[in-house]
């Protein structure tokens, strides 16, 4: 057989839907995933981040016919007694794998602070920067043979996941629409000159390090350079490129940047990536809420549903957690501009996979939007639940750079979703 060139590899990868380029690690992961009934913890997380604060009433917690609905209707789902807002028809079909928390409570009604809260599990604090969910997962669940970044943010928005006190090395790798290869990953030189250049860099960095070795180390310049060089030559880089997927699969996720992002997320976790965040902006609907949300749902519905279904059919859902959320919800009252304003006290998130039970609903909001939600879930509790599903000790104590001790989460896991008692 002739040796594999780039093109030959490309073609084969395309025909076999991406299985040839998978490293041995990914194969192992896939096999492990097929036998996920053993109750082994989840290995990776995909966060579908709805930036701006999605309206719970037009997504996961409709109250049709009430004064606060503003005409929003609901639809039945695959699970009896669970209804979603119109526009989530395909997600509704997957409801058996998805659970909802309808009583999320936070105290942060500002975009930046709310985003920090929902991405880290903590409220902003001037003395420490907490790590995001994905950074903790990367730190606590190391993978040796992953040659591409293990924490990825696709279509990144303003505040991507950060390593915080765990270090900037755990920051998310930011990338755009995965329609084609990751930009700037191909050298334009012959290998011999590449090598000469890398040797030169070594000589320069030795000089610069003198007298400031430790701080030069802390810049992460050399570390990121090594990672960049490693990924440039890695076959795993193709995990980013959804153009290698069959058309039918791409259509299932939707031919949108967000749909492609979700598909890339699946390819990435197959390769051993720990956390992928896929961003969909446009949920800050202070005016014209219903129309804007309806447009967003056309993108979200196929992508979220396609991802859950695809993961399940490939036997990956048992070891992958999918969370769909934003920084807060929106007011039950509709303002004169036909919009809804920020509402951190009683909003919804959806979660699937990773051993978390499907088809459940936690919490309940008042159909009149007046009373406090029942069975409230704090942000810390959500994080404790996800860490537990990942097999991470959520109470683990860590030292911050200024010597403070902080736990990964200060909430309590939701046993009803973890399903360990039956």
């Amino acid at each position: 057989m002739e040796p594999l060139g780039r093109r030959a590899l490309f073609c084969r990868a395309a025909t076999l839907a991406g299985s040839t380029w998978l490293g041995p690690l990914a194969k192992h992961l896939a096999q492990a995933a097929e036998s996920d009934r053993t109750g082994a913890p989840a290995r990776s997380v995909i966060v579908l981040w709805l930036a701006g604060g999605p309206s719970q009433l037009e997504t996961f917690d409709p109250h049709p016919g009430s004064r606060i609905a503003g005409g929003t209707r609901h639809i039945p789902t695959a699970v009896k007694d669970i209804f979603l807002a119109e526009g989530l028809e395909r997600v509704a079909e997957q409801m058996g794998s998805i659970s909802l928390i309808r009583s999320m409570m936070s105290r942060e009604g500002d975009h930046e602070r709310g985003t920090y809260n929902l991405k880290t599990g903590f409220r902003p604090d001037p003395t420490v920067t907490h790590p995001s969910l994905g950074s903790v997962a990367c730190r606590e669940l190391p993978v040796e043979s992953c040659e591409i970044p293990r924490h990825v943010s696709i279509l990144h928005s303003q505040w991507p996941g950060r390593g915080g006190y765990l270090g900037d090395a755990f920051d998310a790798f930011l990338t755009g629409d995965p329609l084609g290869p990751v930009p700037d990953t191909r050298s334009y030189l012959v290998p011999a000159r590449d090598q000469a250049r890398v040797n030169h860099l070594g000589a320069l960095d030795r000089s610069f390090g003198k007298g400031r070795e430790k701080r030069v180390e802390e810049t992460l310049h050399r570390e990121t350079m090594r990672s960049a060089l490693r990924m440039m030559t890695s076959e795993q880089l193709k995990a980013f490129d959804v153009s290698l997927e069959p058309l039918a699969i791409r259509r299932m996720y939707g031919e949108t940047p967000f749909g492609r992002g979700c598909l890339a997320a699946r390819r990435l976790i197959e390769t051993g990536v720990r956390c992928v965040e896929v961003n969909l902006a446009g949920w800050d609907t202070h005016a014209n809420n219903h129309q804007l949300v309806a447009n967003n749902l056309k993108v979200l519905d196929p992508a979220f549903a396609g991802l859950v279904r695809d993961l399940r059919e490939r036997g990956l859902l048992g070891r992958t957690i999918v969370i769909c959320m934003g920084e807060f919800g929106r007011t039950p009252a509709i303002n004169p501009a036909g919009g809804r304003d920020h509402w951190p006290g009683g909003f919804s998130i959806a979660v699937a996979g990773g051993g978390i039970r499907g088809g459940r609903v936690v919490g309940e909001t008042d159909p009149e939007g007046k009373k406090e939600p029942a069975s409230q879930v704090q942000v810390g509790g959500l994080f404790a639940t996800i860490f537990t599903a990942l097999g991470i000790d959520y109470q683990k104590v860590n030292q911050t750079p200024i010597g403070r001790t902080v736990r990964f989460s200060e909430g309590m896991p939701l046993e009803s979703l973890l399903g360990r008692n039956g």
Binding site: P126, E218, P401
Partner: protein, 536 residues
């Protein structure tokens, strides 16, 4: 049009060829460039006070401060901080013609008179004043705003007057650029607010950008860490309660400022008031003018400190107190903040003076090498100069400058400047703009390394071309030694050390790679090194 372009191109080539040999090697003509403003007694006194305050703090904590840095290292910091680029080889040659003791003072004057200073620093301030977004298209002209700000900075208008203009100017945003500070807060989609500026966002901007207080978290609840109440923030916002936008642009209307209670959802009237230092607030006059007088008052406890902290950050890459817009955070600020603020407030809020003072302090002029490499501790107390990741425009500006022997500035040919503008914008997008919070110190990222290693800008600037440093060095440097010196000075603003000289001379002697390619590979490595991308 095409003809004009061709003529321009030919002219550029001719001019380029004529200037080609200049600056690559030191000139022997002995020209002198002078004019150094001689500082007054109070200036020197303030510098000494700042130096003593730091020295006392270091002694108390048992920290050994770093040794003074050489002039070229400090000149590089100044160029990066004030113009967003590195010194050109041409400028370095000029600098080195001066007697050693005069070099830095001359350099500061040289930069403060360079239009690039006003443009670059205006953009830094603009990020705090109006953010990085393009804002509401109909009501906001960001470019006009930045140009106006740059013009004010170029003529060194007192900073308190600039801020008063921002808060109080009336008129159209196209005609009176300062009013864009107000109009950027209009949300055209928000019918409820009827295309009017948002008092809440304005109050947030004023407190963060001018006073270094994050009062806006008191928008929803009492301040979590400082002694601010929700009512204090609302009282602040009420000063913009009569600010209207109409056909004549921004003007003052009438009426009361009402807020909706988050619980009862009922509206209540809020009176304009300041929570502290209320005696500085004029009793009469239009609301915005009263607020502006209070904010910029010499006795305002925050205004001068917040400005000093921001100018320090622009010069050094990191603020004295982090985060930049939260002076009331937990720690007690270094004493230098109050000393500098005092001098700034008493001397007419003179930005150029403040810059000269900061640039004259020991903390600014010593090495980033510390004798014990005690890591963050020495850096945090400014006992050694901190390593800071350069912002994307600084990296782009530096790559473009490094690839040209002569200075690319306001005097450069229009075509050169346009090229620089386009290349820079393109690169910043790929490298990742640091946004509004640009002084939030961070580590490097993989996409940045990728775009530097394989991206278009560095590739084009490295490859041969009649105007690129690599080609000029290849053609004009007499021997490997002077080639290396030119390459190092053009990129790192220093000469190679012994080990580097050995390494690179050996590599140039390798005849399997052509000399041109060898020089390109060295240039590539220089701009990809840690040293190039980190202010030090």
């Amino acid at each position: 049009m095409a003809l004009l372009k061709n003529i321009l191109f030919v002219a550029l080539i001719l001019a380029g060829l004529a200037a080609m040999g200049a600056s690559l090697v030191p000139s022997k003509s002995g020209r002198r460039v002078a004019v150094v403003a001689s500082p007054d007694g109070e200036f020197k006194e303030t510098v000494t006070k700042v130096d003593e305050a730091f020295a006392t703090a270091w002694a108390r904590d048992g920290i050994q401060p770093a040794l003074p840095a050489d002039a070229l290292t400090v000149a590089r910091r100044l160029s990066l901080g004030l113009t967003g680029t590195i010194p050109s080889l041409e400028e370095i040659r000029k600098l080195e013609e001066l007697p050693e003791g005069d070099r830095l003072d001359w350099w500061i004057s040289h930069l403060l008179h360079d239009r690039r200073y006003a443009d670059f620093v205006a953009e830094r301030f603009a990020r705090a004043f109006v953010g990085t977004e393009n804002g509401p298209f109909i009501f906001f002209r960001r470019r006009k705003f930045v140009l106006w700000l740059a013009a004010e900075i170029a003529r060194n208008r007192p900073y308190d007057q600039i801020v008063r203009d921002l808060i109080t100017t009336e008129g159209l945003w196209t005609d009176k650029p300062a009013t864009n500070f107000i109009t950027v807060t209009i949300e055209p989609d928000n019918k409820e607010k009827q295309n009017q500026p948002d008092p809440v966002r304005l109050a947030g901007r004023v407190t963060r950008a001018f006073l270094g207080i994050r009062l806006d978290c008191a928008q929803c609840h009492d301040h979590p860490f400082a002694d601010w109440k929700q009512g204090d923030f609302e009282g602040f916002a009420a000063f913009f309660g009569q600010t209207r936008v109409g056909f004549r642009g921004v003007h003052d209307g009438s009426g009361e400022f009402k807020v909706q209670d988050r619980k009862t959802r009922e509206y209540r009237v809020v009176e304009p008031r300041v929570a502290r230092a209320a005696d500085l607030l004029p009793v009469d006059g239009p609301l915005r003018r009263r607020l502006a007088t209070w904010v910029t008052h010499q006795g305002n406890p925050w205004f001068a400190k917040a400005t000093v902290n921001r100018v320090w950050a622009i010069l050094c890459g990191q603020p004295l107190v982090t985060p930049i817009d939260n002076l009331e955070a937990f720690e007690s600020p270094p004493e230098a903040l109050a000393i500098l603020a005092d001098d700034f407030a008493r001397n007419g809020h003179d930005l150029a003076r403040l810059i000269r003072i900061i640039a004259s302090t020991r903390a600014f002029r010593h090495e980033s090498i510390s004798r014990l490499d005690s890591s963050q501790k020495a850096e945090k107390t400014w006992a050694s100069f901190p390593l800071t990741r350069l912002r994307p425009e600084q990296v782009a500006g530096s790559v473009i400058q490094a690839a040209s022997i002569s200075t690319i500035d306001a005097e450069s040919h229009l075509v050169t400047r346009l090229m620089r503008f386009g290349e820079q914008n393109d690169f910043v997008k790929r490298y990742g703009d640091s946004g509004d919070d640009e002084f939030d110190g961070r580590g490097g990222t993989i996409p940045q390394r990728l775009v530097m290693m394989n991206g278009k800008l560095v590739q084009e600037k490295t490859m041969g071309g009649p105007f690129n440093t690599t080609t000029r060095v290849e053609w004009l440097a007499g021997n490997d030694e002077s080639a290396l010196e030119a390459l190092f000075l053009a990129t790192l603003t220093r000469r190679p050390d012994t080990e580097e000289r050995d390494h690179f001379t050996r590599s140039l002697a390798d005849r399997t790679v052509g000399r041109g390619h060898g020089i390109q590979d060295i240039f590539w490595a220089l701009v990809n090194s840690t040293e190039f991308s980190w202010n030090h």
